[in-house]
Amino acid sequence: MKTTAEFIIGSLLFVLFLATILKELKFFGNFWDSFPVIAHYIPSWSFFAPNPYQVDYYVLYRNINQNEVHEWKQIYQYKKMRPSYSFFWNPHKLFLRAIVDVSIDLLKVASNEKDKKRICLSLPYLYLLNYVHHLSDSQMEKFQFIIMTKDTQSEPEVVFVSETHPIKL
């Protein structure tokens, strides 16, 4: 019994270790997409490589009425400087990481998918849609969001424009 448990656990750990390597080598292409939950339990050890994080992602939205289009508003302001204790306590990074991950994933979907409907039904799009919808002015009729990329040395660039969506209460 103990020997069986040992073989099962040993094999499982070996498979997990091997899967970690195969996931990085991308041998199986989109294989992991079929098992999203399992794939996210398999470690990913890229750490800013091969392409480092090089631009900031800004999500902006605007509200639209029949004859009125409002200014773009930024959903999140980056802090000028992180506080000195952030090496120990940095809860803001959680929102930041979520926004960055969702934006990057949406841009990936948009570049691989030509069908606009499928983009609008993708998970990152729906996350942003839901979030911006709650930020929007309920007096208004519609809203739209964009993703801009920018680093401190260059001009901002619009990389994604959403459809306009009705604001429903």
Partner: protein, 584 residues
């Protein structure tokens, strides 16, 4: 060194880190609220396929909306409890299990925002759970320790190699690019590296070299290895200070005590090397063949040749000395290879032209990889031809009766060159054999991670005289040690030297069990007579029978400086990977 202490060091650091991250999540709860960026309303769509499963209802019920907040509080409570208990050195498998399940739930709640620190906490806590449940002295605890260490080394190695292959990392501009962003950057560091190319390149290469060569800890002694762990900690401290990624610091640090224990208190190196060459490398090559990106038949033949030649190499000359995985593993690898070859051949025509164009952008890198594979395959061909040459007897051999009965026996070392036989360079042991016993599944151990000598099939196996002759010398008092402990003062351990009747040759049978020898100096023995039992005495990696034949010399040296004589059993010259079925 005791695993218990290192277990609690790791758990203490990890639980402290998890307590901080729980507080951070509670502080930033808005991201999970119904109006948050990771709202459950959307998240639940990502696990929609689970709706067909019977587990979907409980999971969805547990983590939906504000109920997840209760889990964060529970995670905080469990982390604090684990931290306190680890200080008091009290093992609580239930609490570790609860904490592990809570961390697992994060993936169900949302994939986004989870990073390498999350994965490392899963690796460490999952392994600590195994240690905690199965006991500190169990084989599974040993496996868990290996797993943490292997993943830690792999994490740095993958990150290092990927950076090494990236132009922006090599020329130092990656550091500049990261530090000029607002999300993970730092104004002061950016100014510093922007104005000074040396600092930029130096810092970039420091990261690359540290990550790529962290694996050296498995080869270094305690004092040197500890510097690697200190550098690793400082590296994560810098990342936390200058990039705000504080979660990596303590989570990675929690793996260091176990990794330190592993590389210096276990035979990790002796397991890691065979696993890498005889399991991971062939599986990677076959997976590469499986991947249906062969564009032409020539490309397919190339891939098949690289994988196939390597497999033949390890089948003929390979040394599958992996606890619990016998030589039979190669047959599974061959099966996987044939299936992959067929699969990839049938998919050649399905490759789209657009994909061909896409891949041409990384031509330079592909050329380097292909050149390496050509060299690698050339080396494999050379090894195969050497192994074939080494499997032939040099002639002048002596026919013996096989000294072990009732079972299948596998030759780990044996042959006519040092590729097949590590004894070859010692004149007296040039044609020596190291033999182990295998079961019907081809395994030479009863457990994946042997913890006692009885776990090895050959231990205590009766030994019969391979010849008729006279006992010249015996030694019967050396201890049988549990691997990896060895007795270097007495290389042969307990042994019997038999003079073959009517010849000037002698047989040496070594590494026998203490007090198992049933003959004395001067005794006459007949071929097939019970003379002792196989043990693990002397300088030996694991229980096995060492046998060799020498010409008797005036010096009385039977072990080192003597003329070695090749041996045959049933007229067969046994070499590495030979299997002898003894039916008597």
């Amino acid at each position: 060194m005791n695993l218990i202490d290192f277990y609690f060091y790791s758990l203490c650091i990890l639980s402290f880190s998890l307590a901080i991250s729980s507080l951070e999540y509670l502080f930033s709860w808005n991201i999970f609220s119904s109006s948050g960026i990771l709202s459950w309303k959307v998240s639940k769509l990502s696990t929609a396929y689970l709706s067909k499963s019977r587990f979907s209802y409980p999971i969805h019920t547990l983590i939906k909306d504000d109920r997840f907040k209760a889990f964060l509080w529970l995670k905080l409570f469990t982390s604090v409890c684990l931290f306190t208990l680890s200080f008091l050195k009290i093992n609580s498998p239930i609490l570790v299990l609860v904490e592990f399940c809570l961390i697992m739930l994060f993936t169900f709640r949302s994939f986004y925002g989870l990073d390498g620190a999350y994965h490392m906490s899963l690796v460490v806590l999952g392994s600590l759970l195994l240690i905690s449940v199965f006991g500190f002295n169990s084989s599974i605890a040993k496996l868990a320790v290996y797993y943490i260490t292997a993943q830690l080394i792999l994490s740095y190695f993958i990150a290092g190699i990927k950076k090494l292959l990236s132009k922006v990392w090599r020329n130092g501009s990656a550091m500049e690019l990261i530090f000029r962003t607002e999300a993970f950057g730092n104004k002061h560091i950016f100014k510093l590296i922007n104005n000074n190319k040396f600092i930029r390149v130096f810092s970039s290469w420091s990261v690359i070299l540290f990550e790529t060569f962290f694996f050296l800890i498995i080869f270094l002694d305690n004092r040197l290895a500890i510097y690697f762990f200190i550098i690793a900690f400082l590296f994560h401290l810098m990342v936390a200070i200058f990039m705000g990624l504080n979660n990596f610091l303590l989570v990675f640090a929690s793996s260091y005590p176990i990794a330190f224990y592993c590389v210096h208190s276990t035979n990790f190196l002796y397991l890691a090397i065979p696993v890498f060459f005889y399991l991971i490398t062939p599986i990677l090559l076959i997976s590469w063949l499986w991947n249906s990106s062969s564009k032409t038949v020539i490309d397919w033949i190339f891939r098949m040749s690289v994988a196939g030649i390597y497999l033949i190499n390890i089948y003929i000359g390979g040394f599958l000395k992996i606890s619990g995985l016998g030589y039979i593993t190669t047959y599974f690898l061959f099966l996987f290879f044939f299936v992959s070859s067929l699969k990839s051949f049938y998919s050649i025509s399905k490759i789209k032209k657009s994909q061909k164009r896409k891949e041409s952008s990384s031509k330079h890198l592909v050329r380097i990889c292909y050149s390496f594979l050509v060299l690698f395959t050339g080396l494999s061909i050379w090894e195969i031809s050497s192994a074939i040459k080494g499997s032939k007897s040099p002639g002048g051999e002596i026919e013996l009766q096989f000294p072990l009965k009732s079972g299948s026996y596998y030759v780990m070392q044996g042959g006519n060159n040092n590729l097949l036989n590590h004894h070859y360079d010692v004149p007296g042991q040039k044609y020596a054999l190291d033999i182990v016993k295998i079961n019907k599944f081809g395994l030479r151990v009863k457990k994946l991670m042997p913890t006692v000598l009885d776990d090895y099939n050959i231990f205590k196996t009766n030994l019969y005289s391979p010849v008729s002759g006279t006992v010249i010398k015996i030694s019967n008092t050396s201890e049988d040690f549990l691997p990896p402990k060895v007795d270097t003062n007495s290389p042969a351990g307990n042994y019997i030297i038999l003079k073959i009747e009517n010849t000037d040759k002698a047989i040496l049978l070594a590494h026998l069990m203490k007090n198992s020898i049933r003959v004395s100096n001067g005794d006459k023995v007949k071929a097939g007579q019970l003379i002792g039992q196989v043990g693990n005495s002397g300088n030996t990696s694991e229980p096995h029978l060492h046998i060799h034949c020498v010409k008797i010399n005036k010096r009385g040296d039977f072990l080192f400086n003597a003329e070695s004589i090749p041996m045959t059993f049933d007229k067969s010259f046994l070499v590495r990977n030979s299997v002898y079925n003894s039916i008597e």
